[in-house]
């Protein structure tokens, strides 16, 4: 059956959002270079917005990488273990990641609720426009961590730890 467009978009939503931020970052820097050189003027806010957009690209991109298991880790020791112990390790790693990501989400809530009044240096807008990238990213990754745990518990072929390279 052919995948509907909507489904395709939803499946790759993290990549699409992160790509949007990468494009924005690139376009801003290029425009600023040309304005500065040819029009002798520049967008004074371009560095701040470009780097903020980059932060979003990185943290949303990190969700995509997490989902597709592209973050790099070391599996040498785990691979040496007997298969039954490997399953235990993989599940324990899943639990550690749920705890860690959940904790980072919790910290992000506290951090943003107390720091949103801090304005950005150039535009003077709330720093939450940037720091929310952390909250969105950690929340999203926590959800995937839970999904991975469920998957790894159910899985019989556990020799290859899904999100571990």
């Amino acid at each position: 059956m052919k995948e509907s467009n909507l489904k395709k978009i939803l499946n790759n939503i993290e990549e699409i959002i992160a790509s949007g931020f990468i494009i924005l970052t690139t376009v801003l820097v290029v425009i600023n270079v040309f304005m500065r050189y040819f029009l002798k003027t520049g967008l004074y806010w371009s560095e701040e917005v470009a780097t903020a957009s980059f932060v979003w690209a990185v943290f949303i991109g990190a969700v995509a990488g997490y989902k597709k298991g592209k973050h790099i880790g070391v599996d040498i020791l785990v691979n040496l273990l007997p298969a039954s112990i490997q399953k235990v390790v993989v599940i324990m790693v899943d639990i550690v990641l749920i705890l860690l990501n959940g904790y980072m989400t919790y910290l992000a809530v506290i951090f943003i609720s107390l720091s949103y009044i801090k304005p950005t240096p150039v535009l003077g807008i709330s720093s939450a426009y940037i720091s929310s990238a952390l909250l969105v990213s950690f929340t999203w990754v926590t959800i995937y961590s839970v999904i991975f745990l469920v998957r790894d518990i159910r899985r019989t072929d556990y020799s290859k730890g899904g999100d571990i390279l």
Partner: protein
């Protein structure tokens, strides 16, 4: 207790947890349970500050430019040029890989960007011609260490500011060590290729006529590095902005000159950029957060003091510092080591009569070696991630290159004249 986070990182690291998360986990343990001088959520400041850094933009820009070059026919033309020059040597494509990094040195100045770009551009090509993937990954990582030593490397600028020496002199000091590093890597490529039968890509040395012909054919590709150097020299853009202009350039050449680039290619180009950027930058952020814990506990200072207690002989001290940097460089991100340690070590060595520019080159070459040395190394991670190489396989292939670079490190450490020759000539 102050050292517990270091143990935690190792523990997590060897369970196979992604390295960025291992570093996050141990730093958070420290600020949540070990030290209560500051609220734990405030460490998130560092997540943002270290990511919102204009210099880091070079990474997505050059990954994107590299990816576009693949689709637009630029890279194959640039490679053909490097091939005409070095293809007749044993392990031709390996030699091309090194030469290209040297050429790119004048462009990006970022080892990670170079590693990312050539992982995309050269590794698949090398595999096609019978090189093992791990070897291809290893030479790509090792040669990326050359890039930041050639001006305009960001680290040269950062060090110049920290040590309060002329950035211009730092630039000049980079050429000779950079070329030496490239030569040493080419020798290793030669030896290994000979042993494994990685053949030259062409039968004999190209004639001047052939070189001229290939230069013309590859002119738009060659203009890429040279155009960027020219852009920097005429003040069109700064080193960080150069990457964005490179993206634009590759798009224009791909669409209008070589006409190989298509709109639909951008889906894959952006995908490459997103994955390449986020995984690499996430590790840089995590290393920075971990470095924050180390600074907070003054661990680098403790180690430095310990070393000063051991010797006051400059030659011995440089050897010790080299070893110290090498060990530290295995575990923490090079830029962080440079920023944290240089201010402490520069006064120590200058007191002993070492020129700070000379010391700067030693430091930068050293942390570049650290970047390709397991178990932690940012270029190692970049290359392994993008080429899908297992760290274990990479380890087996990288050590001869590390050895070669260590020889260069020793040479530049004990023959300051090699480093200082060009800066003394110019300034």
């Amino acid at each position: 207790m102050a050292f517990l986070p270091i143990l935690i990182v190792f523990l997590l690291y060897f369970t196979g947890i992604p390295i960025a998360y291992a570093l996050f986990g141990s730093s958070l343990t420290y600020f949540s349970f070990i030290n209560d001088a500051s609220a734990p959520d405030l460490i998130l400041q560092r997540y943002i500050t270290s990511a919102q850094n204009f210099s880091l933009l070079a990474i997505p820009f050059f990954i994107m430019a590299g990816s576009i070059m693949n689709y637009s026919g630029i890279s194959s033309k640039l490679m053909k040029f490097a091939e005409v020059l070095t293809g007749h040597m044993t392990g031709g494509l390996g030699q091309v890989n090194v030469l290209l990094s040297l050429l790119m040195g004048g462009v990006s100045g970022s080892a990670n960007a170079d590693a990312a770009m050539q992982s995309k551009m050269l590794v698949p090509e090398m595999e096609k011609r019978g090189y093992s993937r791990a070897f291809s990954a290893a030479i790509t990582a090792a040669s990326s260490a050359v890039t930041p030593v050639i001006p305009p490397g960001i680290n040269l600028i950062v060090y110049g500011l920290i040590a309060q020496v002329s950035v211009g002199a730092m630039f000049m000091a980079g050429y000779v060590p950079g070329v030496l590093m490239a030569i040493s890597l080419m020798i290793v490529v030669y030896i290994i290729s000979k042993k494994r039968g990685y053949t030259p890509t062409r039968e004999k040395r190209a004639t001047a006529r052939e070189i001229f012909k290939q230069t013309l054919e590859s002119i738009w590709a060659l203009l890429f590095p040279f155009g960027i150097i020219a852009g920097l020299r005429i003040g069109l853009f700064t080193p960080s902005e150069a990457g964005a202009v490179a993206v634009l350039y590759t798009i224009l050449v791909g669409f209008f000159i070589y006409k190989e680039l298509k709109i639909e290619h951008f889906k894959d180009i952006l995908k490459d950029t997103v994955y390449g950027t986020s995984s690499v930058v996430l590790i840089i952020i995590a290393a920075n957060v971990f470095g924050y814990y180390m600074s907070w506990e003054r661990i680098p200072q403790m180690l430095t003091e310990m070393m000063l207690g051991i010797t006051e002989n400059p030659m011995l001290m440089l050897l010790m510092i080299n070893i110290f940097y090498l060990i530290l460089g295995m575990f923490i991100e090079g830029g962080a080591a440079l920023i944290i340690l240089s201010p402490l070590l520069v006064p120590v060595v200058t007191q002993m009569g070492v020129d700070p520019i000379h010391f700067g080159m030693i430091t930068i070459v050293n942390i570049m070696i650290g970047g390709i040395t397991p178990p932690f190394g940012s270029m190692m991670f970049t290359v392994c991630t993008i080429t899908n190489t297992k760290v274990g396989a990479f380890m087996k292939e990288i050590w001869p290159f590390i050895l070669a670079l260590l020889v260069v490190l020793l040479i530049i450490t004990y023959f300051p004249g090699i480093v200082m020759f060009v800066p003394n000539l110019v300034f």
